[in-house]
Symmetry: C3
Subunit: 655 residues, 3 copies
């Protein structure tokens, strides 16, 4: 299969979404001038072009796109061509109301925004296939074309009647018999036994709590339906251009999409990444998304969208201070990106996103935003030869699974304060702040490459996943599991004992008496640290080799942390410093060490291939010890034993 290297050919891609429909042709030529000055080598065309290309049903108006493709080619800028199917033209909803999604409480989502399509609508899919077919036929051989971009940020739900019918088909395929479905959903409780497939609905507004099995399957179904939309279009373009890679851009950690499964269907994995410039841990959020995307890609990946300045969808949207755009872009490259792209090239003057920044802001060429973009383009060109296509290696893996998340995120759970992404982020943060490079992995992946595997929280685990974890430890791996892991099976059926018996045995737990979730502002004292969010009333079976007890309170003296051999169980969420210390110490015990010793807290160091990235996330200059002599690819200067970084400064060091 084609991959990203055929697009990059040794370069780092640099550019962004380009939506020239918004401007007259004169502006296109101005755009090209500014792009070239900024070393832009790739743009994404067509994301929102459906109403331009097909202004009325069945019409085709390719003229302006022809001009644009030629213009890009003439100027040496590659085109990632998007199918325009994320935003159907107004005529589609008007003529075909069946294409509009319906919310869980029966309200239609109308046109006038974007993504107002039902993933289950046969009509929508027919129109989407037709325009995709014609686009692929017309531009498949165009010399500017480098990659296909299917749709944009798939992210819709639909609870309407056509989705209901599709849900029933999906369920029949999964369960074959109604008995199996009734068993899996536990419909014996609350008198929910289905006597016909026709009786099944999406989990629409109920009087009281929904059936969690139904909700879980509806989430699986939604991910699968969206994936069907993707693969249908992918197959069309692939037929025309088998040599070109295909992608669709993820929103990071979007709840509705099993990105492990999706990634398998993509040639290039791409993601849109928007950390809040005001988040003191914005860089860690970036690192998490980058690590996850790289792990899904199993190699170089594409940063499809980021913002050169502010976005427009937070309550308060802050611009990026001087240097931050460059710093975070280099961070993405450090963590495996071979493409640094933006939404969007030129900031809109109209429409819903005109306060979302562009590479060229409202201030234009003289504006700070474009000036910094231009500098970054030069930087990327400078470092590309030494980093493009290179891999990272990590000794630590963090396990993550959408199905576990979906299963756990139910209304009637013990604590509404436990939000899976927060727990995942807390554990990744501990590793990141300990300067340990980590991959993400699925719980059924081969874990043997890793010296240390960390499970922040996997509420539901399949038998295969449990076997995988046991085998990993048996084969010498070190496993650290956070609270509320292994509670349920893949149908969200609670395991006898409230936690899988094999896991309890692994950790030396006899009985899990009760879960003790903590209130807002509450913490629980453990020997040597404080726990937050959760605690558990555990009784050991006497086989644990090491335990950290709770101190005081109802759980006084009971084990908070157990270690049996190479398996650790942590029944609370230790405060950030404690969790970092615990993981750093466990890692150290198995020979996993930071990229550099003695790194200041605000400095991130990542080795990609041979090249060492040193990134200063702090607001003050800092000096970092880097033993030996390196060439800083950004400046061309040699540095010996230590490097000084400006605020938000970076060094890209080749030994």
């Amino acid at each position: 299969m084609p991959d990203l290297s055929e697009v990059t050919r040794g370069r780092l891609l640099f550019g962004g979404d380009y939506n020239p429909e918004q401007w007259p042709e004169a502006t296109w030529h101005e755009d090209v001038r500014l792009m070239k000055a900024a070393r832009v080598n790739s743009v994404t065309l067509g994301v929102f072009s459906w109403s331009m290309l097909e202004p009325e049903p069945g019409a085709r108006e390719f003229g302006r796109l022809d001009t644009l493709m030629d213009l890009m080619h003439e100027n040496g800028i590659g085109v990632v061509l998007a199918t325009p199917t994320s935003s159907p033209p107004p005529w589609m909803g008007r003529l075909h109301p069946d294409t509009l999604p319906v919310t869980e409480d029966g309200r239609t989502e109308w046109w006038g925004g974007r993504q107002h399509f039902s993933h289950s609508s046969a009509t929508y899919r027919r129109y989407a296939a037709a325009i995709t077919e014609d686009l692929a036929a017309r531009y498949g051989g165009h010399p500017a074309l480098t990659m296909w971009h299917i749709n944009n940020e798939y992210c819709t739900y639909d609870y309407g009647d056509e989705a209901a019918a599709a849900f029933r088909r999906w369920l029949r395929e999964r369960y074959r018999t109604l008995d199996a479905l009734n068993e899996a959903w536990g419909t014996a409780f609350w008198s929910q036994g289905y006597d016909t497939w026709d009786g099944i609905l999406p989990p629409r507004l109920p009087h009281y709590l929904r059936n969690p099995g139904q909700v879980l399957d509806f989430r699986r179904f939604t991910s699968d339906m969206l994936l069907e939309c993707y693969t249908a279009e992918r197959d069309i373009v692939r037929r025309h251009t088998p040599h070109l890679p295909v992608t669709s851009n993820f929103m990071p950690l979007w709840f509705g999409q099993d990105a492990w499964r999706w990634a398998e269907e993509e040639d290039v994995v791409s993601v849109d990444l928007y950390p809040d410039p005001r988040d003191p841990l914005g860089a860690q959020h970036g690192a998490l998304v980058q690590d996850m995307t790289r792990s899904q890609a199993r190699g170089p990946w594409m940063l499809m969208e980021q913002a050169a300045g502010p976005v427009n969808w937070r309550g308060v949207n802050h611009p990026k201070p001087r240097g931050l755009n460059r710093l975070w872009s280099l961070q993405a490259v450090a963590r495996g990106a071979d493409a640094v792209c933006y939404f969007q090239w030129r900031q809109s003057r109209q429409g819903a996103e005109k306060f979302h920044s562009g590479m060229v802001s409202h201030a234009g060429e003289e504006g700070r935003t474009y000036q910094e973009v231009k500098r970054l383009g030069a930087d990327l060109e400078r470092i590309a030869p030494e980093v493009t296509g290179r891999h990272l290696s990590a000794d630590v893996a963090v396990l993550h699974d959408w199905h576990a998340w979906w299963a756990g995120a139910q209304d009637g759970r013990l604590s509404g304060r436990v939000e899976y992404p927060d727990v995942l982020r807390a554990w990744h943060r501990a590793l990141w702040q300990a300067h340990l490079t980590t991959d993400f992995a699925h719980p059924e992946h081969d874990l043997t490459p890793y010296a240390l595997v960390v499970v922040p929280q996997l509420y539901a685990l399949t038998d295969a996943a449990i076997d995988n974890l046991l085998a990993y430890v048996r084969q010498g791996g070190t496993l650290v599991c956070g609270f509320q892991t292994g509670v349920a099976d893949e149908d969200d059926r609670v395991r006898p004992g409230g936690m899988d018996a094999r896991l309890r045995q692994l950790f030396g737990i006899r009985t899990l008496h009760e879960w003790w979730p903590l209130d807002e502002g509450e913490s629980v004292a453990c020997e040597g640290f404080g726990g937050t969010l959760w605690s558990e009333e555990l009784e050991g079976d006497g086989t644990a080799e090491e335990t950290v007890p709770y101190k005081g309170g109802e759980l006084d003296g009971l084990p908070a942390v157990l270690r049996k051999g190479r398996a650790w169980y942590v029944s609370t969420l230790p405060e950030p410093e404690a969790l970092r210390g615990m993981l750093a110490s466990i890692a150290d015990g198995v020979g996993v060490r930071p990229v550099l010793d003695g790194l200041p807290e605000q400095v991130e160091a990542v080795r990609r291939g041979e090249v060492l990235f040193v990134l200063n996330h702090g607001p003050e200059p800092v000096t970092v010890d880097v033993p030996g002599t390196h060439r800083d690819l950004l400046t061309g200067a040699d540095v010996t034993d230590r490097v000084t970084l400006d605020r938000h400064g970076a060094a890209v060091l080749r030994p």
Copy 2:
């Protein structure tokens, strides 16, 4: 009529909801073994069995229920048999969408949860009657059967078209003429005069505030429609088993149900009680519900549901610390319960309530939860002979009325911070913390048995209720009324002067100039204490014998509290200590004294029949003076003059 004593026959019932549909038969036998070990003597079957019993319309599948009834009988466990009508099978909504409730803004509540039935649906009622008829016919003579349990926690609203038609029928019956309705609702305001009955709707989403008379009647109608559902099923089972009592379990202080009126239609009054283990006043909440349920039952009552551990519907669901389940169960018995039951016997492994605890938790037989349940079963068996069937006597009554609550809870009221249940609870708390045993009563009940009557807040009072209060004081009773009492009549028509003239005269008030609600965090100084939530600009008529003035602020010098003879009016909500002191002093003045003198704050003492319950709600051991020698029925030991209680400990003392 049959009553609870025919079921208890000298025992305290102990057990809970049993939903064995969820497990294979093998588990049923395990269940019986554990039930017997825990002295379980009563289970409720069938609450959620409709789809098992009637898997498709008109089908009947009684096999498993037959087996279960026999199994219980063979093991000496009585069965409270529930009609399964609270959770219709999916086929009902599918084939009969008219059975589904509709919200005030037109959204359907679909199947997939529970209680998705319209109280007004003729179709639903027909199906419900048919399954009830067949259940009664089949099991009416079964030797395990001890009682009927109709539906479960009636609690639905419906604003749909069939409910609208029913509402109109209900209104015609209430008002006979449109003129009377227009007059009662004050439709002359805002041009709302109805010219035909057909023009009347439930109070659906308006542009601006709804008509409060319409809303009030809709609340009455809702309670009555649900009651019709209940009595229809009750009448069916009663026809088959006139010797067996019938109940339906209340949710305590549920807004939608006039439980005074409902209780009159029940042979046994039962309630579901779930205080928050983290609420420092959880025990007081329990006492309030228990006092109210006992008052509705006018004797022993049934604790139909409580939780052995956590529930699953609070934001954060805390387990019960060691001992608390036993303590709160004994509290219920102390306050008149002859049955201590749980939702549910065995914790679900699947479905929406799998994180709601059971008597057998996920941890199983070895889990702390079951072990404590077992101990409690033995305790109850020990004390039963001396307490079952015994009555309590109280010298204080707290008045409560749903119609007053309904009338007051309107959108356009003066203070959205005044929530009736909070005010009610504040006054009950004061009495509970003063160690005074209290009943609840309806404002039209005979109050002469009580030395002291307390009205926390009755915004609306009928003329009959006002006459009743006046007669009570005339006949020597002492009455203490909280603010905003007697403002409106039964149609929610404000009484001239803003407070009924007879009440003003009773308290010595000439003019109520203005109400002065208080903001969040605001309090008002009165002589000797602080007031919260509310204050009033009152002018006395010179006849009050005692007044406590406001100090400072706009109301400086005006009366905050007035006493005229035996009638007190309290125009603010005194801070907890002040209200407790005020009520204790007034009670003392009429010879009403705590059960025991010198009780520590965290200790509750209640006398039921001859037996004295002493309950330690505190986290530390405590010693209590109990003059004389008693036998502690829990331990069999004699105690003289003082008894020491562990944390959450209890003594049940017979003189």
Copy 3:
């Protein structure tokens, strides 16, 4: 055209909404007695009389209104007769569901409240015209009739199908061609190009952000549709009574109504004003509304509704302390009102507003509320000869425009914390606290009468408005502009550079690099003061004569405030004291001074005609220097050089 002076004839109107349908005739006579005792000389009849007048479709029942008109006339009380069209009778919704409004997410607003009519419904408009015609025909010649009051507080939206059709008609008229519409709305973005007019909808619930151009035009359309409802009725009554003035009462600063445009269609401008008695700046809110209403009226105006005590629609509704009703009423007169009226005469006993105060409260004649009303009536009679019809003069104008507000209030804006009314109020507050009398003006009005023009924030400005501002400065005016002014054109298209180039040149700004909105609780240091809410990264062009820089942080050293000649730009919102000081100083520099020197902070002074109003908003008595000798029209006493005011006291001084 007729105006207010023909109604007042030298008197100040005093009275209120009178809804006697709610009471029996006996009460009407009691009402008249109390009205006369309070010097009431004007009442508004008929606001909610539709179901009385037309109890079933087409019926006419004028009997009671005849009696009331005669009764008023016999007692010398003028009648402002309202068309009853704000609250259709229940039969209208029942027989004509097409008259009911629909929310943006498709929910119907039912009858049972008020204002449940669709502005676009042909059926509604037909019924409204018919009843208006018959009212005008019957009462046009009645001697009690003094003025027409059309509808009441127009304030509805409608997203339903008939509104959609009307929206399309409105758009066709505005744009003529689809190309023009597509251009104005920027539909090229997000694939929203319309191929037929039929494809256009109101901005109903989308999946993601709506098109801001569509939303802006829908707001314009809504204002225009409501205005059509108004003018249709106005034209009918005008035909019958060309000599009588017509009004419709505004809600102050109601978002949905372009009151500049509406005012042009009214003979009398009237407003409903309800400051919160607990708001420490309630008087300033009153002053703002009064200044705006006077500016719309270009002379005397009518306070159509205020509350004698509490309202019923705030979370917590506070009464007015002793004296406040009088003080705020005199404030309205000081600022140009020739009518002081209330909602409503007698407080309702039933219905949704029974806890909204009346001139006669529940406490009745003896209640403080009526007693204070009575005193006020006498006061107004005393001062009327010297103030009625007199004008105010102001040297300062604050610019305000609904279209700018509408355009800026979009979902995807940079800061959800920036609410236009708050910014407007902050600037007016600064002027009010500096004791400067101000008008409001539209940005295209002639500004030459003013020495100082202040623009708190006009996000969008037409070219004509920009030309007007430039011309104003060119001609010697002094202009102070707040942040985020001139960002967009009238289609909400961002001006190149993010701020209009002509304005940038006016202020000496070369580049607006980025907007820096501030978080909750965040402030930004500027030299000499702190800024809140917002800041900007500006680069001067070297022509500014004065700049105040930001200090520290990301904007350190960049200009926060620029002055170039007589034009000031303030890129943040200075803290209240700082903004007051800045504006007072600028005003002083152009010779604009407070009405009185040395005024204490809590005292307001306004000169109307020859008469000086001195108003003490503080809770303590205060002495104010007033050079010279004046007659206090309230007391008849002469005061020399200083006047002492009680708490909430006032003096009305004639030289």
